[in-house]
């Protein structure tokens, strides 16, 4: 008896989150991967030395531009952007992304889980979501801009729309992927309905739903930027729009670089959180030659 309890206690040695984070960092700092970035920059550099700076500014110019524009970009005020720096516009975009992802995820996850459990609900919602998911953003955006006017509301609505569809699909798939064996087995072990939901459905669906959330989050930046580009007074999209009007390729690339960097950082944090929350599943995605 004592040996059994001892092994049970010893067995689930929890991997400390910090350690996991360190491993993630080590993987990210893998010299070969960093070398990849260097090669990328070198190719860019090489191309830019052949082409004119107006077409393709060299990477260091773009980085320098990002550095200066981040806190203060007077040229933007000249084009009529409310806050003449990248920082404030990024914040505006980020706010919208957060609001939209939160609302869209809540709707999508609930709808997806419910639809997986009740086939009638699924039959009703599925065609709507499937159709909605195929509408390109550039088709949907003009309607929202006319209906809700130029501003925060139309951009947020657009992003909510897509986040909802993505999470609906992921949540539904996650719930229907849970093999019925687990539920049956839990029943035979005497689990109550509540326990089945808490101990089984939630842990079993969380990894996939979080994966979907990550994808939605990554896409949301782009969607938000584009809807701002089509009609907004603020945000990174607006910045891109005025820079495009001024054919300022260096400024465009600096803004894109900023968006990309932020998206990567947010995604890395999200990925780390996913790993922590679904550590039992982490091995599945680990790399093997």
């Amino acid at each position: 008896m004592t040996t059994v309890t001892a092994t049970v206690k010893a067995a689930p040695r929890r991997v400390r989150p910090l350690r996991l984070f360190a491993y993630g960092l080590a993987a990210a700092l893998d010299p070969l991967r960093l070398a990849g970035l260097v090669v990328f920059a070198l190719i860019w550099e090489g191309l830019s030395s052949v082409l004119s700076t107006i077409i393709l500014p060299p990477p260091q110019n773009v980085v320098a531009r990002l550095w200066t524009d981040f806190l203060d970009a007077p040229s933007l005020s000249y084009y009529g952007v409310a806050n003449p720096n990248l920082y404030a516009n990024l914040l505006y975009t980020a706010e919208n992304v957060v609001i939209a992802v939160a609302i869209g995820a809540a709707i999508g996850i609930v709808a997806g889980l419910v639809s997986a459990r009740f086939s009638l609900v699924r039959a009703i919602i599925n065609p709507v979501m499937m159709t909605a998911g195929t509408v390109p953003i550039l088709i949907a955006a003009p309607f929202l801009l006319i209906w809700f006017g130029v501003g925060r509301l139309s951009a947020v609505c657009l992003v909510i729309f897509y986040v909802t569809v993505i999470l609906y699909l992921f949540a539904q798939r996650a719930a229907s992927n849970v093999s019925p064996i687990y539920e049956e087995f839990a029943r035979t072990l005497g689990a109550s309905q509540r326990q089945i939901v808490v101990d089984l459905l939630i842990p079993a669906t969380v990894p996939e739903i979080l994966g979907g959330l990550r994808i939605a989050l990554a896409g949301a930046w782009g969607l938000e930027a584009v809807s701002e580009l089509l009609g907004s007074q603020e945000g990174m999209g607006k910045v891109l729009e005025v820079l495009a009007g001024a054919t300022d390729s260096e400024g465009i690339m600096a803004s894109l670089l900023l968006l990309g960097l932020v998206a990567i950082i947010v995604d890395a944090i999200a990925g780390w959180a996913v790993k922590r929350l679904a550590s039992w599943n982490a091995g599945l995605s680990s790399e093997r030659n």
Binding site: T134, F143, G222, A244
Partner: protein
């Protein structure tokens, strides 16, 4: 309930849902009569959409085939409207298809090449991740700057959007091939090249399917993006033109047409790829 019966039931329900949505739209058009601009209702009823709105498509007909254009002084006519829609659709589809072929082909080839060894895979990992996070549609201005507003530039833009997705999807799919199949083939004496042809390629198919569907969606978005900013033809051009005058009904008609096209393309691609996945268990063929 039997599975077959449920499928039939679900089909009827979908149909019912679409009819219900159409009916609600119609009711809305009667109740909510606000106009975006004078003469242009915010919500156009079906009777308007299929007559006046459809006819107005004749405005976008450039003339030819014996059907005179509005610009040449002719009245709006149904043949001109139909031809106009067909012509612009064709333009859009040509751009999309070319982009798919170029971008998909290059993306797949590069993805397979890079998967050849763990080294190359690691080398391209970060740059590709970075390119993938850049919002594609926000790059339209950049592509315009680079390639101007000609059809080659538009196709390149679509190809780029699709290529990045297919490339990343291929690398990922190769990585996910169960190592047992690779081990087995190697133990049976397969050379590297044979391994690629007979094991890796078929094994990535189920996963590539969702990549292809995803890139198709991106492709439709990208082709609109390309047309939005500068093209003189295509459905994207029509919708931009309509938006400038707040012709909501025309935008709605084009949007409907687009939904039909995208649905058909998804359906077609999934049918096509399903045939290549005869061998896979049904769960992988969804």
């Amino acid at each position: 309930m039997k599975l077959g019966a449920r499928v039939v039931r679900d089909r009827w329900i979908s149909l019912g849902v679409f009819i219900a949505i159409a009916a609600i739209w119609q009711v809305l058009s009667v109740i909510y009569t606000v106009e975006a601009v004078p003469g242009e209702p915010m919500v156009a009823g079906w009777q308007v959409l299929f007559t006046k709105t459809f006819l107005s498509m004749a405005d976008y007909w450039a003339g030819g085939l014996g059907v005179p254009s509005v610009a040449e002084g002719a009245d709006r006519s149904y043949p001109a409207a139909a031809l106009s829609l067909a012509d612009h659709s064709l333009q859009t589809i040509i751009r999309l298809a070319s982009g798919l072929v170029v971008g998909g082909g290059i993306g797949l080839a590069l993805g397979l090449a890079v998967s050849w060894s763990r080294w190359t895979r690691r080398l391209v990992d970060l740059p590709v991740q970075f390119l993938r996070t850049l919002p594609l549609l926000a790059m339209v201005p950049l592509f315009q700057l680079w390639f101007g507003t000609n059809i080659a530039g538009e196709i390149l833009f679509v190809a780029y959007g699709i290529g990045v997705i297919v490339f990343a999807g291929t690398v990922n799919a190769v990585r996910n091939v169960p190592s047992i199949y690779i081990d087995n083939a190697r133990a049976l004496g397969a050379s590297r090249l044979t391994l690629y042809r007979t094991v890796i390629l078929p094994a990535i198919l189920p996963e590539m399917r969702s990549t292809v569907l995803l890139s198709l969606g991106t492709g439709w978005g990208a082709v609109l993006g390309a047309e939005y900013l500068g093209a003189q033809s295509g459905l994207g051009y029509v919708i931009v033109y309509a938006q400038q005058f707040a012709y909501l009904d025309r935008m709605f008609l084009i949007a409907l047409l687009f939904i039909v096209y995208t649905s058909i393309s998804y359906w077609g691609v999934s049918k096509l790829t399903a045939r290549m996945l005869d061998w896979a268990p049904p769960s992988q063929r969804l």
